[in-house]
Amino acid sequence: MAKVTIDTKKVIDAVRSVFDNVKKDKTTQQQIAKFVVDRIVALARTGKTAGTGEKKDLPKLSKSYRDYRKTDRAQEKAQSSFFKPGSSKSNLTFTGQLLESISFEITQDKIKVFFKDTSRSDSKETNAKIYEYLLEKDIGYDILGLDDAGKERIRRIVVDLLRKEIKSRFK
């Protein structure tokens, strides 16, 4: 019977080294960060949030605000192509500035996703402040998060890259 000896230390050291390199790889970090931002924005534009880890609807709009959104004045101000005047549910989109201010920062081997402190055309407050205000209301506008499917997609990005790197090392 053929004898097989595995140098487990060699294998584990190689995998660990690949994992450390992939974790620090700027291209991978940017790919993941962009994926997270795009996912949060797309989800919000379709009227949903995964801020608490589960996908659910954004809050319903009040009747008075819904009536306002249908007026000519509101439709003049609303510049986003995702603005839906007749919708009863929020999609955090009127001018589009709030969602467009979501950005990311990569520091060492961590990714931070946040609302930028940028100015707005329709308010003295910055986008970051507007979001803080929405969070304080605590009615379901916490949108900076991922559901399980989103987390699994990121895991796949990393594992696929690990597989490719390990495969090339063990050729």
Binding site: V11, Q29, S81, D109, A149, R155, V159, I166
Partner: protein, 191 residues
């Protein structure tokens, strides 16, 4: 000889490939099964997203006017001329190897929402609501044979050594749970 089967029970599509019969050996290493499985998944994804073709190599039916006018269509930047079954990307992105028992490799979805989406595309039904049938989920015999031809299982001692190491790597990769992979990658702001 390639042996491919598909089940659609309970809104849960599963593609089953008998690798033992396909490769002509009872001893199919896990690393080989994983490589073949990933290659099949890549093939299905590329054919769907890049070539817009179903499992038989035919073009998908066009999107409906109603869907083209929808918010989702706009939000995900979709195009009328690119029928790719991709909005958020979750359905095709989360297609995975769900089981291998040493002989039969199974490809499908662990996430029931994505499995249900796929089932809807495959059958043209969403519960009782009819929708357009776009059956992307399958692989032709010649496609499988081409993939398998790159994974020959040989007996020499050196080959066994390489396969044993590859199997160990497979174990390690499988143990990369979402929590372990994401820890220290994504900072959660509690402030």
């Amino acid at each position: 000889m390639a042996k491919i089967e598909r089940t659609l029970d309970g809104n849960n599509p599963v593609l089953k490939i008998d690798l033992a019969e396909t490769l002509g050996t009872d001893n199919v290493p896990e690393s080989v099964a994983s490589g073949i499985g990933q290659a099949i998944i890549d093939k299905i994804r590329d054919r769907t997203q890049d070539e817009n073709e179903n499992k038989n190599g035919r073009d998908f039916k066009e999107y409906s006017e109603e869907y083209i006018e929808s918010t989702e269509f706009k939000v995900f930047g979709k195009s009328k001329s690119d029928v790719n079954l991709t909005a958020s990307g979750d359905m095709l992105g989360l297609m995975d190897i769900i089981n291998f028992d040493g002989r039969v490799l199974e490809i499908g979805w662990s996430d029931p929402d994505q499995a249900a989406k796929a089932h809807g595309h495959i059958t043209g039904k969403n519960g009782e609501v009819p929708k357009m049938k776009r059956d992307f989920f399958g692989i032709q015999v010649q496609e499988l044979e081409k993939i398998v031809s790159e994974f020959e299982v040989e007996e020499p001692e050196q080959e066994q050594q390489t396969l044993a190491e590859a199997d160990l790597i497979q174990e390690i990769l499988r143990d990369l749970s979402p929590r372990n992979t994401l820890r220290n990658l994504i900072e959660e702001d509690d402030g």
